[in-house]
Amino acid sequence: MIEDQLRASFARHEDLVPQAQDLTGKIDAGARRMRRTRATVTSSLAALAVFAAIAVPVLGPRLAGMVNTAKIAAGAKSTTPNHASVTGPLNFLVLGLDRRPTQPTSEPARADTIMIMHLPAGLERGYLFSVPRDLLVEIPGRGKDKINAAYAYGGKDLAKRTVEQLTGLSFDGTAEVRFEGLSRLTDALGGVPMCIDQKVVSIHTKKVFDPQCQRFTGADALDFLRQRYTLPGGTIDRDRHARQFVSALLDEAGNADLMSDPAKLTKVIRATGDAMTLDLDRIGLLDLAWAVRGLRAENLTGDEVPTTSGTYHGSAVEIATPKAAVLFEALRNDNASGWVAGK
């Protein structure tokens, strides 16, 4: 009875259905656009490049080999690869997206961890600067708000524009890193060893992480990285832990003997693809992978954007100090090393 009414209602609304031939042209144009610009590269290969982008020496030769293969397949006469186009400095926005276990999937994930990855010219070193999620900023078109609201309002594009407006930098790409994916990646690597610098008690699992070196499973890493309420420095401490973890993860990926273990390599590549989405704005993926082949995890330096605690309309926020402006200027002038040394 109600089923019949339902069928009737569906049938009655068939006259709303648009004509298929009106759509085929748009689909073809959209597919052409995607192929041509590759504006959004969402594949394990893309993620692999981010990986290489920060430090996976062991994968470097393989990617380099792929670049060469592509050149030859394209009919290039020269056998000398020509990848001089990407020299740096490069800046990437890294957004760590977390979806709580209790959060319905219909809600957007929140950008809880925001980092600026800066690779100075020469691309042999890297800097990770954490931007506190509660940093009070001007969000384009939205007025003053906490910086992590930008992602909630307008996704990675608005987050990117917000940080660009804040820093005066122009990002070469955006990486979205999903926390659950990071956990699977950790497990695919067989765990990640990390030394932690303070005792952390999880408010979620009650697990106690003592200040010592230990090998983290994916679940433990996720649990550890989610903690901020019980830490004396709150978000600042957690952001530091996140930077330490990124460094440890990349180091482990570099040390793991992936080349001699194809099964593990496949698992890692797939998990990386699940964990990250990379949008490159003006550089080709393989050119990037080639350009950063000299980078090593031990050449990665972490720091945070200088801020001080304050309130805005009654809620606790972080406010950028004048030193932050000095840092942004140093990044614009490709002088991160000078800034870190002069602190």
């Binding site: 009414q5 569906f10 009655r12």
Partner: protein, 169 residues
Amino acid sequence: MTYEEFVSSRLQSLLRYAVMLTGDPHTAQDLVQETMIRVQLKWRRVVKADQPERYVQRMLTNAYIDLRRGSWLRRVTLQAEPAEPRANANSDHAERTAARDEMWLLLARLPRRQRAALVLRYYEGLPDGEIAEVLGCAVGTVRAHISRALATLRAHLVPALAVSGDVQQ
């Protein structure tokens, strides 16, 4: 099967399916367009599936269910009232249309998985086993979605019908 063959044989029915899911021709068109762009780019993988048609239907369904709040589609659906079929001057007919539109409006308020399950069973006419494949869940879950959705529809629809019945008498 080539991509072009797939388009000429299946695109129209995908559009129909998308209209029934979203309740709105513009949103449906966007949803199909975005899905088909991915289908074209990944055609080799799609055609390797046991049933490419079902595979694409699943992609489209997932795209519909996974729409994030604040995404383009959500914004569109929040702004647009559910589309109505053509108005009819005949008042008796209009009353019946109103009762029938009630159904369409109620569908728009169902959770998306429930609505998808209803469309797959009562519009596409799929058996529960295949609905489960499209939705990526267990058969029992499909039945739960459908019975919950029907219960919601009944609870809201009965008073509306009773009112229009009184008017007619």
